[in-house]
Amino acid sequence: MLEKTGIPTSDDLKAIKPDKERLKKGPVALIECFRKIPCDPCFYSCPFDAIDEFKDINDIPNLDYETCTGCGNCIASCPGLAIFVVDYNKNTLSLPYEFLPVPEKGDLVWGLNRAGKKVKKAEVVRVKDPAKNDKTAVVTIKLPKEYLMEVRNIEVGELNG
């Protein structure tokens, strides 16, 4: 269980999964924030108001998947690094990355699951690291569909030896 291991369970994950129809429409954000903490920057980061305004700052963020365009603006805003964007049309996953070296487009990296296990090699297709992100890079990798809900981190270096 999440409180014991730090790994969200399938029950936890059910709460955030947009339905298949929505996934087909294109990129969408997934907010893996499961427990109440006093934090609200994601609400302010969304240019489309897809995240409900927090009545109580401890609320769990509520994202309207229909309004979300998957722009990824929220990814680097989250102090918990808990926001990801998946695109089932392009088979890509975007994630926050705060380690050096920041990978470059074309690099091969390991895709790690929520327990940090290497599960699939992946190619980096985009890296956004603008000054406004304040050193949280947003890395987009290409993955087979079945890994889009599994991979949540990357290991850089080894595969480009």
Binding site: E32, R35, P38, I57, P79, F99, N153
Partner: protein
């Protein structure tokens, strides 16, 4: 004797916001800080802060420290004294300090004590081996001086500090072999836990450290599983190799100065130790003395900064630097603070604060026998 309107003791997040708020009304402020620069723990916090976007959430601690330091340096009526330690508080409201190898006396109309907290130690065999560090020391080495503390770390404690420092160690290229936590559940924010877990760091709840292994320095630790009564389960011992054991097992309010100044202080487990009885504006049982930040109860820096603002504002208003909107402003700050504390973690803190609110506490003062 140095005379001033407000003396702030401690240049961390609470002390800095207290000094800024107090100086805005025109009062003369002195802020003293033991270290050679202002910022307190903020100068080691490379991660983004939680809390309200309106109150710096999403900003890294180091950036907040920079911003507050600049604000203080740009205020002509704030005098900063670094490498200055408060030594004593006297009956005639004189504070003695050591500064630049000199003994100095400061008399202020109001004193705001924001001395922060110190780290707890943990009792286990060989805990005096070189290589056993507090999490604060590891952060100082790594994030201030750019020195790696070691190659492989065992982190003891899965509260926010243990989780965050583990993440910072990973960023510095240090292997975190395990995070062990005696409680059955992770104490810190689960997003922090998930972040290090997906980087491959195992978190062992219901586990404790039995002893450090090594002759001249740490070579590993024997860890053991705990049962529901927090007792070691015989036969579950295992050895984890590491050259650093990092302790992140809680903080203890640095209330010595308050006790010496004869403020009423009460042991309050919810707030981490001995904390002063205070009113909602952070005034202690002494009319001259306010508190803010971890010394008033262990909490996040965001709460400390709000407390500093409240104490600073109220303290200057009591010495005649009135601001037309003071009540509105105080109410706004208290509302923000209350919002921060409205979650499950905040509930425990609020319970603690209720106990030590002026007028509520009915027990015996813990240190009255010293008088």
């Amino acid at each position: 004797m140095i005379n001033t309107d407000i003396l702030v003791i401690g240049g961390g997040p609470a002390g800095m916001t207290a000094a800024i708020k107090a100086s805005e009304s025109g009062a003369q402020v002195i802020i003293i800080e033991r270290y050679h620069e202002l910022g307190g723990q903020l100068i080691k916090q490379t991660h983004r802060f939680f809390g309200s976007k309106k109150e710096q959430a999403g900003i890294r601690g180091i950036s907040i420290a920079q911003e507050l330091t600049e604000k203080i340096e740009n205020h002509s009526n704030i005098r900063v004294m670094t490498e200055a330690t408060a030594e004593g508080y006297y009956e005639d409201e004189v504070v003695t300090i050591s500064h630049e190898n000199k003994f100095k006396k400061i008399k202020a109309k109001k004193v705001i004590i924001a001395t922060g907290a110190s780290e707890n130690m943990l009792a286990f065999e060989n805990n005096d081996l070189p290589g056993v560090y507090g999490a604060g020391a590891v952060q100082t080495l790594m994030n201030l001086y750019g020195i790696l503390p070691g190659e492989k770390v065992i982190m003891v404690g899965a509260g926010n500090i243990g989780l965050i420092v583990s993440y910072q160690l990973l960023q510095a290229g240090v292997d975190v072999e395990a995070v062990i936590e005696a409680a059955p559940k992770i104490g810190g924010y689960l997003v922090h836990a998930s972040k290090i877990r997906r980087a491959g760091v195992p978190i062992y709840t219901s586990h404790s450290i039995k002893k450090a292994i090594g002759e001249n320095s740490v070579q590993g630790a024997e860890v053991v599983e705990l049962n529901d009564n927090w007792e070691m389960k015989v036969g579950t011992e295992k050895v984890i190799e590491a050259d650093i054991i990092c302790l992140a097992v809680g903080l203890n309010p640095l209330s010595d100065l308050l006790i010496q100044a004869e403020c009423e202080v009460v042991y309050t487990p919810e707030l981490g130790g001995d904390v002063p009885i205070r009113d909602e504006n952070l005034k202690t049982t002494k009319d001259h003395i306010f508190v803010a930040g971890d010394v008033a109860g262990i909490e996040e820096a965001t709460a400390a900064m709000l407390e500093g603002e409240i104490a600073g504002l109220k303290a200057v208003s009591e010495i005649g630097y009135s601001n037309e909107n003071i009540f509105e402003e105080l109410n706004r700050l208290k509302t923000e603070l209350n919002k921060l504390r409205s979650g499950p973690v905040g509930k425990v803190i609020k319970n603690g604060i209720e106990k030590v609110r002026r007028g509520n506490y009915v027990g015996k003062n813990r240190y009255s026998h010293l008088r």
